[in-house]
């Protein structure tokens, strides 16, 4: 099932880590030997059945995979069109898809003999997932988090600390996710020999975008099999939210060569694509180089990076994974925008009709489904990646609804 054709869209990246003109390895020389070492170690692990068996063990018994495929009947009925299925990544241990990647990377870190883990986090979901696997494997862990995010995501900061992680607030720059990533890279430069950097999304220098994608492909592979079992066919549309884009690429990748499957990535349009407060790098940005890869970025005329905005901290990033930039340019995936207000409405819609509180990130994808499902036939199928649960977001949502908790 997983065989890849020579002219497949699934062969990227090339030997230089490029997806078309995107990706690559734009890092300081200090990191370059490390990146090359990581690439070699990952290639070896990927080809080693023992590594895959070990990963599968943890995914099954620790994460709880496979995650269910849920037919969202009440939501489908309410929208009055296509049949909607949720791939329920929010049921994973720690409540999101992030753990799939963290487990893969920490097993690789152990294999490479690394003794210390670092990571960046925005909302804290990747930080919590990283702290979790570090607790599981008994490795010390330092999480870099923008000082602004530390302030607005207190429950996750506390979770990380309970799990034994050191949380370092980053106050340089704009004190959010991109600055946390800068500081994690600085830590790595200073501690190259013993430290493994677990990047949380499908961005960064090669091999990270490909490696994170590979670890997240379990989402699309499972969903494909589960849908074949339930419906005997592939979906008409597969849809996911994109910040850095790891949950989306994990869902999309196994469908890239299926011409009948339309793929839709949903960017955070914040207060509107016509404003300056959004995180829509593909719709409103242009190609540039940041955090080790060439990709679409929010930047000003002089090439300075512009702060992103989204109600959802997980989508609040001025760049996007390079593979998405490529899929956007070749028009294999359609990338659309959903505003804060639309995401909030979808958050309530999903909660009310399905009894599932979705993450604000995933609510962006639900909001777009709400726009299109009604225009589709009843026998058409939408596969939506419900990438995370919304418990972490109830404070933010309450605030927007004017409710005091």
């Amino acid at each position: 099932m997983d065989s890849v054709l020579p002219n497949s869209l699934r062969n990227a990246p090339d030997a230089r880590g490029r997806f078309g003109e995107f990706g690559g390895r734009y890092v300081a020389e200090t990191l370059m030997p490390l990146i090359l070492e990581l690439e070699a170690a990952y290639e070896a692990a990927k080809a080693d059945p023992a590594f895959q068996t070990e990963l599968e063990y943890y995914l099954k018994h620790y994460v709880g995979r496979p995650s269910p495929l849920w037919r969202a009947e009440r939501l489908s009925k309410e929208l009055g069109g296509a049949k909607i299925y949720f791939k329920r990544e929010e049921l994973n241990h720690t409540g999101a898809h992030k753990i799939n990647n963290c487990l893969g990377q920490i097993l690789l870190a152990k294999r490479m003999g690394k003794t210390r883990i670092i990571a960046e986090t925005g909302a804290g979901q990747h930080g919590v997932a990283t702290a979790t696997v570090c607790a599981l494997f008994g490795l010390p862990c330092t999480i870099y988090m923008g000082a602004v995010d530390v302030e607005r995501q207190k429950p996750n900061v506390f979770r990380m600390k309970l799990l034994g992680a050191e949380v370092v607030p980053v106050s340089s720059g704009s004190a959010t996710l991109k600055d946390a990533m800068n500081d994690a890279l600085r830590d790595w430069v200073a501690n190259v020999r013993d430290t493994f950097y677990i990047i949380g999304t499908s961005a960064g220098p090669h091999p990270y975008p490909a490696m994170v994608r590979d670890f997240q492909c379990v989402i699309g592979n499972e969903a494909r099999e589960q849908l074949m079992e339930a419906e005997g066919r592939l979906p008409d549309i597969a849809i996911a939210c994109v910040g850095g884009g790891s949950n989306a690429i994990g869902l999309f990748h196994p469908f890239l060569d299926e011409e009948t499957v339309k793929l839709i990535g949903v960017e955070a349009a914040g207060k509107g694509l016509e404003t300056h407060e959004h995180a829509a790098s593909l719709n409103k940005g242009r190609p540039g180089v940041l955090h080790g890869n060439r990709t679409y970025l929010l930047q000003d005329e002089d090439g300075q990076i512009i702060e992103a905005h989204s109600i959802s901290a997980g989508l609040d990033y001025p760049g996007i994974g390079p593979e998405h930039s490529w899929l956007h340019d070749i028009k294999r995936v359609e990338y659309v925008g959903v505003t804060d207000a639309e995401a909030l409405a979808a958050f309530r819609l999903c909660t009310r009709t399905e009894g599932i509180i979705p993450a604000l990130e995933s609510s962006h994808a639900i909001a777009h489904v709400a726009k299109i499902a009604g225009h589709m036939d009843k026998d058409q199928i939408i596969l939506l990646n419900l990438s995370g649960r919304g418990d972490k977001d109830i404070f933010a949502v309450a605030q927007h609804l004017g409710v005091e908790l």
């Binding site: 690559g24 390895r25 370059m32 200073a190 190609p287």
Partner: protein, 265 residues
């Protein structure tokens, strides 16, 4: 011979190493930067490194980051930085200027246009921190066409096997990042340098300058014993922040004396 090669040839004849101080463009304003460039050249700077401010300088420590942010707040752009160099160059034909920065603003400007305009402004070399040898074909052709030296970073993590590859296409001098870490933090010891510099020397005939963590005249002197140049950045930015441009020039003078005395002692 390029201006940079000329300086190193002259210093070799004198039997001493170069002092390469750093100025972040527009920190805290354009006038101060111009004063520093002129004053450094008059107070013992052999080459001057000029930082091009960027919002996300991932290899720099807090001091240079903050300087870049102040520069941006003061309105620094690549165009503005080139104009600053051009104004300096109008009165000074001999002190090489090396621009240090990150790739994105250069890509945004357009690599070809940037190399052309930089050469026209009197820039002699480029240090692009996030452009490793693997990606250098993006800039090398245009830099070469315009007579700009592309100065490569070498790190303690760069293996002997990797050295020739990293040095491929580099010119002017080699910038040895003497510690694994960010700018302005730790300092390499004499033992470190005695071990590391000959390793690089064996792989290149280019002069070797040492940066990252060189702060005092004594440290500059230690570096000058082993290498062909000492780069001082964070310490001077701190002096500027704490005192003023005059105090920076005082420090440059002292650093220069340190470098000059190194091999005489």
């Amino acid at each position: 011979m390029s201006r940079i090669a000329g300086v190193f040839a002259g210093l070799k004849a004198e039997g001493r190493a170069a002092l390469i101080p750093f100025v972040e463009a527009f920190d805290p304003d354009r006038a101060t930067s111009l004063t520093l460039l002129k004053g450094m050249a008059e107070n013992g700077a052999d080459i001057i490194e000029v930082g091009m401010p960027f919002t996300d300088p991932m290899a720099d420590g807090p001091t240079i980051q903050a300087a870049g942010r102040r520069g941006l707040l003061a309105g620094a752009t690549l165009k503005g930085t080139l104009a600053l160099v051009a104004e300096f160059r109008a009165d000074n034909a001999h002190t090489p200027i090396v621009l240090m920065g990150y790739l994105n603003p250069i890509c945004s400007y357009g690599v070809a246009a940037f190399c052309q305009d930089a050469a026209k402004a009197g820039v002699d070399g480029l240090i692009i921190v996030d452009l490793p040898t693997e990606e250098a074909d993006l800039v090398l052709p245009d830099a070469g066409k315009n007579g700009l030296d592309v100065i490569r970073l070498i790190a303690p993590t760069t293996t002997d096997e990797r050295l020739p590859k990293v040095l491929e296409g580099s010119s002017g001098f080699v910038y040895y990042v003497s510690i694994t870490g960010i700018t302005g933090t730790r300092t390499a010891s004499a033992e470190d340098l005695a071990r590391d510099i000959p390793r690089i020397r064996a792989a290149t005939t280019l002069p070797i300058a040492v940066g990252f963590g060189v702060r005092t005249p004594e440290q500059a002197a230690t570096v000058a014993k082993f290498a062909d140049g000492a780069i001082v950045a964070s310490a001077l930015i701190e002096t500027l922040r704490r005192e003023n441009a005059e105090a920076v020039l005082r420090d440059v003078k002292a650093l220069s004396a340190g470098v000059k005395g190194a091999r005489a002692a």
